[in-house]
Subunit: 318 residues, 2 copies
Amino acid sequence: MKTTVTQLFNIEYPIVSGGMVWCSGWRLAAAVSAAGGLGLIGAGSMHPETLAEHIAKAKAALAGSGKPFGVNVPLFYPELARVIEILIAERVPIVFTSGGNPALYTERLKAAGITVAHVVASARFARKAEAAGVDAVVAEGFEAGGHNGRDEITTMALIPQVREATSLPLLAAGGIATGRGMLAAMALGADGVQVGTRFALSEESSAHEAFKKLCTELGEGDTMLCLKKLGPVRLVKNAFYERVAAAEAAGASADELRELLGAKRSKRGIFEGDLTEGELEIGQIASLVRRVEPAEEIVRSMMDEFRSAVNDMRTWEL
Amino acid sequence: MKTTVTQLFNIEYPIVSGGMVWCSGWRLAAAVSAAGGLGLIGAGSMHPETLAEHIAKAKAALAGSGKPFGVNVPLFYPELARVIEILIAERVPIVFTSGGNPALYTERLKAAGITVAHVVASARFARKAEAAGVDAVVAEGFEAGGHNGRDEITTMALIPQVREATSLPLLAAGGIATGRGMLAAMALGADGVQVGTRFALSEESSAHEAFKKLCTELGEGDTMLCLKKLGPVRLVKNAFYERVAAAEAAGASADELRELLGAKRSKRGIFEGDLTEGELEIGQIASLVRRVEPAEEIVRSMMDEFRSAVNDMRTWEL
C-alpha cells in the first residue's frame, strides 16, 4: 500500500506507533517496524543514556531488515540538547518532535540526514511546523491519551483543517485503534495514522501489566482531560484523578495542582503499576481495546480490517 | 443511495439536519427534506403553538412531494406532554428525542405510527434507547455544538462503540459538515449522519445573520465546552463565555453558574444576534464552514464530495 507516509518513511503500511512515555521502548518500536509499520521509541521517559541503549537495541533487532525505526522527542525535555546529539550521532533515521517549537532543532536534524515529523494539535501549529521545514505532520486530537492541546479539537474536526493548512504527509492521531478508524482518518484527508493506545496496551509495551489490564477493561467515559491549568493531560479516572477533579472543581490554582501532582506519577502509574495513585495516561479509545496483543497482530488486524472496509465501500451503489 | 437510514426514513440521502434551537424552523426542515435529506424542526425553542404552526408550514411546503420531515424534542422540555400530543395529533411522521429518558414516550409515539430516533452520547445510552424500542439512534460526539454528554466522548471514539452496542440504524453527529466527514462516520460504522453546524449556518436557518456571519469566521479552537456543573454546552468564546470560563476556573458552584447564565441567553445570542452577551451554541466544525449557503447546496455538495471520496478509494492499491 502506497501513501505519501509509506513513501516518506519507506515502510509497508501507513501505521506509526506513538512514542509513549513508559510504553515505547525498543521492543515495541522494533516489533511495529518489523511488522511493516513505523515503530517509535519514546524518549520522553528516558535518561539520555537509556535512550542510547534503546536505540542500539532497536538497531540490532532490525539489523539487515532494511526497516527503519524512529524516536519521539518532546521538545520540553530537560536534557534536550544532549538527546539531539545522541539522535544525530546514532544516525537515527526518523525523529518525531512534539510539545514545543519545531523551529528549534528541525534544521539541525535534517542537516544530519534525519527525516523529521512534528506533532501538532491545530492547523495553526501545522503551518508553523511546515514553515520550520519538517517533512511530515502528526495531527493529534482531543481524544488522545496523555498530553494534549489546549484547544480541545477532536480528530474529526482537526484532520480536515490540517489537511487544508498543509500539503505535507499527514498522520492522524487520537481515537484511532482499528482499521476502520484508520479508514475514517484517511477519508478526512490523512495519509496514515499514529496509534498510541492500542500499542501502549500491546505485549511489547513496557507498561506494567496491571496498567495494561486496567486499560483493556475501561468503559467509555473512564478517561478525562484534566490538569488544564498546568497543561492538559488525558488520564484514567482513578483515585488520583478524582482528587485532581475535586481540586479543579473547587478552583485550585496551577501551583496547587502542581503540588498535588508532585513528581514521577506517570512512572508510578504506567511503569510501576500503581493504579490508584499513579498518573495513568491513555486515550479515550482504550474502551475499544479489549486484549493485550502482540504488536505484529495489531498491525495485521488493522490492515485486514482496513482492506475489508475499503472493499465494502467499493460495493456501495452511490 | 441506500442505507438502513434512507430506508427507515424513506429519504434519498442519509443526511439529517439537526433540530437546533433558534435555527431549525419549518424553512430549514422543509428545504433539507426537499433536497432529499431529512429536515428536523427543533421544538426545543418553540412554544407548543409555535411548533404546531411550524409543522403545518413544513407540511404545506412538502405537500405532494412524498417527502417526510421530522421534529426534534428535548425530553426535558417543560411542556413536554403538550408537545407529544401535538406531534401525534398532527401525524408528524418522524420524531427525534434527545436529552432525557427514551422510555418516557417512545411507546406512545410508536403506537401512533411515528418513527422514533433518540440522541445519545454513549454506547450505554444507545443500549437504553434500543431497550425503549426506538427505531434508530443518533450518536453525538463531544465536538457537537450546544448541549453535550458528560463523558466527553468524541465522534471518532463514540461511533464504533455505539455500532458494537446496537444493530439499529445509526446516525453519527458531532464534527460532521462535509462529504468526507460523512464518509469517515460511515467508515466508523454509521448508516448516516446528522449535521448541525453547517445547517445552522445555512440561508434557511432562523438564526440571526450576525450569528451566522460570526460562526463562518471562527477559527479552530474558538468554541469550548463549558458550564459542566450545570450540563455541558459548547459555546463560542465570546465575552459571556469568558466570564463563565473565569468563574469556572475560580471554582464557581452550579448555583453561581446558573445565576451567571440567567434566562434566554441562547435566544439572545442565536436568534437576536447579541454576539457578546448571548449564549452562542455552535459545533467545533464551524471553523470548516466558511459560507452561508442554501440547504439544498449543502446536501448536494456533501453528496458530491462523498461520492468523489468513495471513488478515490476505488483507485487505492491495497
